[in-house]
């Protein structure tokens, strides 16, 4: 297992290296002068020259790349053009919000999606099947940000059932030791704070979870259908095993394999979806920060965040592979 993880990690390194090259040249291709972007509206030529000297923009390109590589090796991605904040610090500050949202969104998708998909497969062509397949299709075809706006408009503004923005009522003055607000509330015993944070998560999680939910429903349904058809299930039935046992031990376990792969594949989509969802719900996570960075062409932030996201993506997929090999002993061989 350790060798497997090590091998997988070794594969990540060239990818990150390639990404660093792409990102370096990407910034050079961007319209606009980075020095001027740093100095803002009232920049003078002297100031621009000074910044170019400090950042080495006046050096030959290969040398600039080495400087860039040296900086990122030390974890120094520079500072945001817009706010002057250190990129790494900014990422770490906002990461808990995104983790919380992603867990909630994916959790919702799994908790709703797996049973729905399973039931749909069991009652193939029944009402539930058509409903869940239809609903899951809707989840895929409606743009995430529009879904988020609609959810907010209906449930927060019109009906007033749920909060419309942010992660917690600021009047609560809650304590945040971990930055995951729901967990924080539970740990400190500030139950009202935990409850409030959880309520704030409902709508964003629904919006973010819509696509994974749709995909999980369909994959679960398809793979349960497939497994139900397999010889070993027929054999089990013929042996007269209890239906519950068949379901638990044979059908679900085998059907979960493609589902867990799919969940891993969704990690990237979740991060992208977070850009849109966090913006609509003002969650101040990594995604919202990226959105602002895109809008201001805050390239140090974009560069840093894209690399961070690539690393996280790789780690998540590694975790999925590990869990895959735990669920399915056969996969350990490969």
């Amino acid at each position: 297992m350790i060798a497997f993880i090590a091998r997988r990690l070794a594969l990540v390194v060239p990818v990150l290296f390639g990404l660093s090259v792409l990102l370096f040249f990407w910034v050079r291709l961007l319209p606009g002068d980075p020095a001027r972007a740093l100095l803002g509206e009232r920049a003078t030529q002297e100031g621009i020259d000074r910044v170019n000297r400090i950042y080495g923009f006046d050096k030959p390109v290969p040398e600039q790349y080495l400087l860039f590589l040296g900086r990122i090796a030390r974890g120094d991605f520079g500072a945001s053009i817009r706010t002057g904040q250190d990129v790494t610090a900014g990422f770490l500050e906002r990461f808990p919000a995104t983790v919380e949202l992603a867990i909630a969104g994916l959790g919702l998708a799994i908790v709703l999606g797996v049973p729905l998909g399973y039931l749909a497969a069991r009652r193939r062509d029944g009402l539930l099947d058509h409903l869940s397949v239809g609903a899951s299709l809707m989840g895929v075809v409606v743009p995430v940000f529009f879904l988020a706006y609609l959810l907010k408009w209906v449930f927060a503004i019109r009906l007033g059932w749920l909060p419309s923005a942010g992660r917690q009522d600021v009047r609560l003055d809650a304590t945040h030791p971990t930055g995951l607000f729901v967990l924080d509330g539970v740990l400190t015993g500030e139950w009202d704070a935990a409850w409030d944070a959880a309520l704030h998560l409902v709508l964003p999680a629904l919006a973010l979870g819509a696509i994974p939910l749709a995909i999980i429903v369909r994959i679960t349904r398809a793979s349960v259908l497939e497994v139900l058809d397999e010889d070993f299930v027929r054999t089990a039935r013929a042996k007269g095993l209890a239906r519950n046992v068949i379901r638990r031990r044979h059908v679900l376990r085998n059907a979960m394999l493609p589902v867990s792969t799919t969940i891993g594949l969704q990690a990237g989509a979740l991060l992208a979806g977070a850009v849109l969802t966090e913006t609509v719900f003002a969650l101040n996570g990594v995604g919202e920060f990226l959105f602002t960075a895109i809008n201001h062409l805050d390239y140090p932030v974009l560069q840093g965040f894209i690399l961070f996201i690539a690393v996280i993506y790789a780690v998540v997929n590694l975790l999925v592979d590990v869990s895959y090999s735990i669920i399915d002993p056969r996969a350990r061989l490969s």
């Binding site: 895929v140 743009p143 493609p258 992208a272 850009v275 993506y313």
Partner: protein
Amino acid sequence: MSAPAAPPPVTVRVGGSWRPVARRLVRRPAALVGAAIVLLFVLVAVFAPLLTPYQPGSAEWAGLITPSSVPGPGPGHLLGLDSFGSDLLTQLVHGARQSLTIGVTATALGLAVGSALGLLAGGLGGWVDTAAMRLTDVMLSIPALLLAVSVAAVMGRSPLAVMIAIAAAQVPVFARLLRGSMLAQRNRDYVVAARSLGLSRGRIVLGEMLPNSVGPVIVQATLVLATATIEVAALSFLGLGQADPTVAEWGRMLVKAQARLETAPHLALLPGVCIAVTALGFTLIGEALREVLDPKNTTR
């Protein structure tokens, strides 16, 4: 907002003709609904100028607009005006045209470049394969939307930029897919047979392996047509769509109308529905195609 998970490579029936595929497709109601939607969409897109008497993006009736009110449906303007003072129906109809152009071009572009990459990798193998796959690894290491955003940021704001951005995000997917299904063909009997007959490598790859590997690629292309429509909207939301604010483009219209969600909800809902329905049409066809092309499904 990424594409639905890439379909696991399906093996296509070797040397099969497309006729039975079409026959089985017709028996699926979902495929028929999808086909009807897509047909309607294409017809509207092609005949857009004949369907309404107005020019898109004209802002001709800007004088009737205020920040808090937009004239609703009435004679002369079946759906009323949009928030710039153009005819809303005209904008929606020409929006279909934009969507079709961007979707088809982006998909074709992504397909062409991705397939070329996949073909080289899968057909030649060796270091070409390794290099091509490392490149797709890098591209796949960031979410598709971010990749599109990065490309759009460099390219500026034009329809072409949007197309290239969306296509770029699809290149690694197509490359992987084609390579995967070509690898599956490599040791098939007919390839071995062709090789023993002394056919050239190029002949084998292009004449034998490729036609037998395109199934999954076609399925993916259909699905990308769906996601392209949605990604155009997402790019618009992120401020990276087309330049002209009055352009008849659904994503653009949807984003713009969100500010008026309460005073004129139809401004957002109609383009939203257009995007969803179009995407639904392509998705239904794509899904049906995938199931039909999967040999496991022949019995059902």
